[in-house]
Amino acid sequence: MFPINETMGQYSELFMLLAAGTYTVAFIAFAWDLAKSSKTLRAVDEKAAELSAAQISRVPVGAGVGASGGVVDRAESDVAGPVGRAERPTSSVSGGQAAGAGLTADGGMRYGGERRAPARVAVALAVLGAAIHAAGVITRGFGAGRVPWGNMYEFLTTGAFVAVAVFLLVLIRRDLRFLGTFVIGLAIIMLVAASIAFWTPVGHLVPALQSYWLLIHVSIAVLSSALFTLTFAMSALQLVQSHRQKTVAAGGTDKLGFMRLVPNALSLENLSYRINAIAFVGWTFTLMFGAIWAEKAWGRFWGWDTKEVWTFVIWVVYAGYLHARATRGWTGTRAAWLSIVGYLCVVFNFTIVNQFFNGLHSYSGL
């Protein structure tokens, strides 16, 4: 057992504070990006609308469907028709992208040509924040002489770091900067909650936690939770976007201009499904490794302890989500709701169950 280094622990807390500060600036930059881009896009769009209006006036009326209209009609082909079909993903992720042009961002979520200075600043700041955050997590680990996820404070700070890190890693391949405010905002909330509500000084682990399974079981749980955080953000945006697309398609006014930066609902659903599938496998491992550890520590692999119950509930909800995606009438919005309910269960499992329910997992350190 390594000795405790309290100085390291203090450094760690300083790093956490700095990270939260940096994230806050990054958050503002992301928000600025959304606001600014929506303005720019609207201006571009208005110009394009004028242009196409001029073109349309030249098209003979007899041209049929095409004549009836610019953006709105193309949007219609995306959302109209039987709901199951419109919401149903096909093997082509970019499906309906042509329809969403102008209304939503590129469904493939690839980096486009246009320069978004605020977004670049925001990502740079997020990277800096993550680096400081990593230093905080690592010094915490050294300070306590073990893996830094032995109590709620450590789980939250490490979990927030993993969420940001996963987000930044995905950014390398895909342009998910529209999620920035959401993810960085959640990370700030997690850091603040950890520092205020769950703060615990560096300390040794109780004997029940002294096992290599802590490394395996909890790290997978943190990673899965981080992925669920991403999909939660996407599913929430999907609901908003889907509502907006329908409103616009029905001829309503577009009140949520910043959502132009967000891809269409279908693309969001497809990507969040892919991430949820990975996270579900991770959660299955969390459950299984937890059971193996429980067998080693408590003599039974499953005992319906409160934490076990909620881990099981989360597993079942996400299993339901995966099945819903293949059930008629349950894709799209309903599946997104399941994904959101699943994440709320994750949050509940972490906060309420840890603190207020009696169980064997009483390691909150509070």
């Binding site: 469907v65 082509s92 970019s94 499906g95 690839r110 000084p201 499904y273 550890w293 339901g320």
Partner: protein, 632 residues
């Protein structure tokens, strides 16, 4: 039960109108056959006479439908929640009794609703049993269908490959000398190498083609996953039937022998037989605890428990020294032995009025509060002429507040103290009715020492002896030993449960990450000698990498017939919207030939009337979108 069930129906060939969906629903092999029956049953349901058999069939199709399964799954999640809200009997029956006492208004109602035994309740069982029946009813027909699919040839080549989500064409120049039949042979060989099952059709005809399919493991994984879940459930049930568990408290120096009498508490499974117990023995030599003396917030918290034990597999076997720790159980005679509790056991000697030793040895003190503040009950039935009893507290580091309340200031033995009241009278042990060793019923006893009596309470430090009033005897505090609580479990099902859980994960990963794809290639000869090749790919289920696969297949084919290709195939570009507009599928190639869309016509004009003519695909690029417009 699977996330793939309805996929095919909902992703009809691009541009396929609504009617195509219903057809697909009936004929699709990968779908639950019952789905077709459902619609049939629905149309029949209008008729007055469904009959009992029909009703049963209807009920069965309802139960095994995807929608019901999803509903049951979500219901299971909801039903599991109350078990975390209310105390559960299997975890701690005493807490439940107390809870009912504390909530007289609704405590009994909750009991009637089985909310204290959620996971063995009728309603929870009903949900998961229905779910598993639904699962079996889904897995079995699907397994049969998939078995047939695996044994059958890839589906026939569609007339219009250009309607497929991924489509492209290649042109082999005339001077390459590759006729259509050889092009198909080459494509077949390449696809086989890529893991496809390939069937060549009409090889020597005018328009040879091939159908290919891969990724059968996806459905296998899916079926394995769901079957393995049944395996997990059965393993858990088997563990409950044939397993057993028990507890025993061991003071340093004590030996436990694995026989029924050796246990303090024993919970047999339904089919347990005492002959299952192997008579191994465990002797507790020493128990050590390390307390946290470093961190401020958790000063004095235990951070390490270590029990040195001597074990014997059988009475005659050689003794073996082992270490028992938390998270590190002993494995003996098919059981696992866990360190689950510990505490102090003060050693006392009680002499009766005649001066004879009536009781001598460690007394297990039950933990009551912080820092090993524990309660002590000593029953001395052998004392003569009257039986003696003591009840009080043990404090490892005794402190007394100014108000006279004593507490323990530290978990270690810095100032051990035993504070006791004493009683005499009939302990009621001779009647044979079992008593809790940790509790003393003082109603029928006469107090000798107590705080409110002139005799006062007994306060002992190690080595001290107190003489009881009226010459009833003496009590000496000889020293302190530690004790451990061990749990002994035997669960024959858990190895199987682990096996099935691992199998389930393997199946899950396979079903999520293996993609089932179909590919078709058709070739034909242009009248000027060029060989025209077109190909199309279709995914069964969600497959975001189909475009990448199409690009890879294309690159492979182009490399096989050295064609000078642009490196980037537009099929791979996210901008390509294959489902919406067939016209937007240009044919990339460095060759001028391949730049023109109409080169996709192998032997154009040779058989203009053929319904199977690939030419139609290219000449009616908007057909699909027109139909889909109608559809909407």
């Amino acid at each position: 039960m699977s996330e793939r069930v309805n996929v095919k129906k909902k992703t009809p060939a691009p541009g396929t109108p609504e009617t195509g969906k219903t057809e697909a629903g009936k004929t699709e092999t990968g779908t639950k056959p019952v789905e077709g029956a459902v619609s049939a049953a629905k149309s029949e349901a209008v008729l007055p006479s469904l009959g009992p058999v029909g009703m049963l069939r209807w009920a069965w199709t309802q139960l095994t439908s995807m929608r019901t399964a999803l509903f049951l799954l979500l219901l299971l999640a909801v039903a599991a929640v109350p078990g975390s809200l209310f105390p559960q009997r299997p975890a701690n029956p005493a807490v439940v009794t107390q809870y009912i006492k504390d909530h007289p208004d609704y405590g009994k109602v909750l009991d009637a609703l089985q909310l204290y035994d959620v996971y063995s309740s009728a309603w929870f069982s009903a949900i998961y049993i229905l779910l598993f029946i639904s699962l079996i009813g889904c897995v079995v027909p699907r397994a049969i269908v998939h078995y047939k699919a695996m044994r059958s040839q890839p589906p026939r080549t569609p007339a219009r490959l250009s309607r497929l989500p991924e489509y492209g064409t290649l042109v082999i120049p005339a001077d390459a000398g590759i006729p259509a039949s050889r092009a198909i042979d080459d494509a077949a060989a390449l696809l086989k190498k890529r893991g496809y099952r390939v069937e060549v059709r009409d090889r020597d005809g005018a328009r040879p083609s091939l159908g290919a399919e891969r990724g059968f493991l996806r459905e296998v994984g899916n079926l394995v996953f769901h079957t393995a879940l049944i395996g997990v459930l059965v393993s858990v049930a088997a563990g409950g039937l044939f397993g057993y568990s028990g507890q025993r408290i061991l003071v340093e120096g004590d030996t436990f022998v694995n026989t029924l009498v050796g246990y303090d508490q024993f919970t047999p499974g339904t089919n347990f037989q005492s002959s299952q117990l192997q008579p191994y023995s465990i002797q507790l030599d020493k128990f050590q605890i390390t307390f946290d003396r470093e961190s401020k917030g958790k000063f004095g918290q235990p951070i390490d428990f270590k029990a040195d034990v001597t074990t014997k597999e059988n009475p005659g076997a050689p003794a073996e020294h082992q270490v028992l720790k938390v998270n590190d159980p002993l494995n003996l005679g098919g059981t696992s032995v866990y360190l689950t509790g510990n505490g102090y056991a003060p050693v006392v000697t009680v002499r009766d009025a005649a001066g004879n030793v009536a009781m001598q040895g460690p007394v297990v003190a039950k933990l009551q509060g912080e820092n090993y503040y524990s309660s002590v009950v000593i029953k001395v039935p052998d004392a003569k002429p009257e039986q003696l009893a003591f009840a009080g507290f043990f404090l490892p580091t005794a402190f007394v507040t100014p108000e006279g309340v004593s507490f323990s200031g530290d978990p270690e033995l810095f100032n051990p103290q035993l504070t006791l009241n004493s009683y005499y009278g009939d302990l009621g042990l001779d009647s044979g009715s079992p008593q809790n060793v940790f509790e003393l019923d003082v109603k029928k006893l006469t107090p000798l020492n107590a705080r409110n009596l002139p005799t006062k309470g007994i306060v002992l430090t190690p080595g001290a002896t107190h003489t009881l009033p009226d010459g009833k005897g003496t009590i000496s505090f000889d020293g302190v030993k530690r004790y451990v609580g061990v749990d002994i479990h035997h669960n024959p099902g858990q190895g199987y449960a682990l096996f099935f859980a691992l199998l389930a994960v393997a199946g899950l990963v396979t079903s999520l990450y293996v993609n089932r794809r179909r590919a078709w290639v058709r070739a034909g000869s242009h009248e000027d000698g060029r060989t025209m090749v077109e190909y199309g790919l279709l995914a069964r289920g969600e497959d975001h990498r189909l475009a990448g696969e199409a690009a890879a297949v294309r690159a492979m084919l182009a490399a096989a017939w050295p064609l000078d290709e642009h490196t980037e195939a537009t099929d791979d570009s996210p901008a390509t919207d294959a489902t919406e507009e067939t016209a937007s599928q240009p044919v990339p190639s460095a060759k001028a030939d391949n730049d023109r869309a109409d080169t996709a016509l192998p032997g154009a004009g040779a058989e203009p009337a053929s319904p199977n003519h690939p030419a139609e695909d290219a000449t009616q690029p908007t057909a699909g979108s027109t139909e889909s417009k109608k559809d909407q």
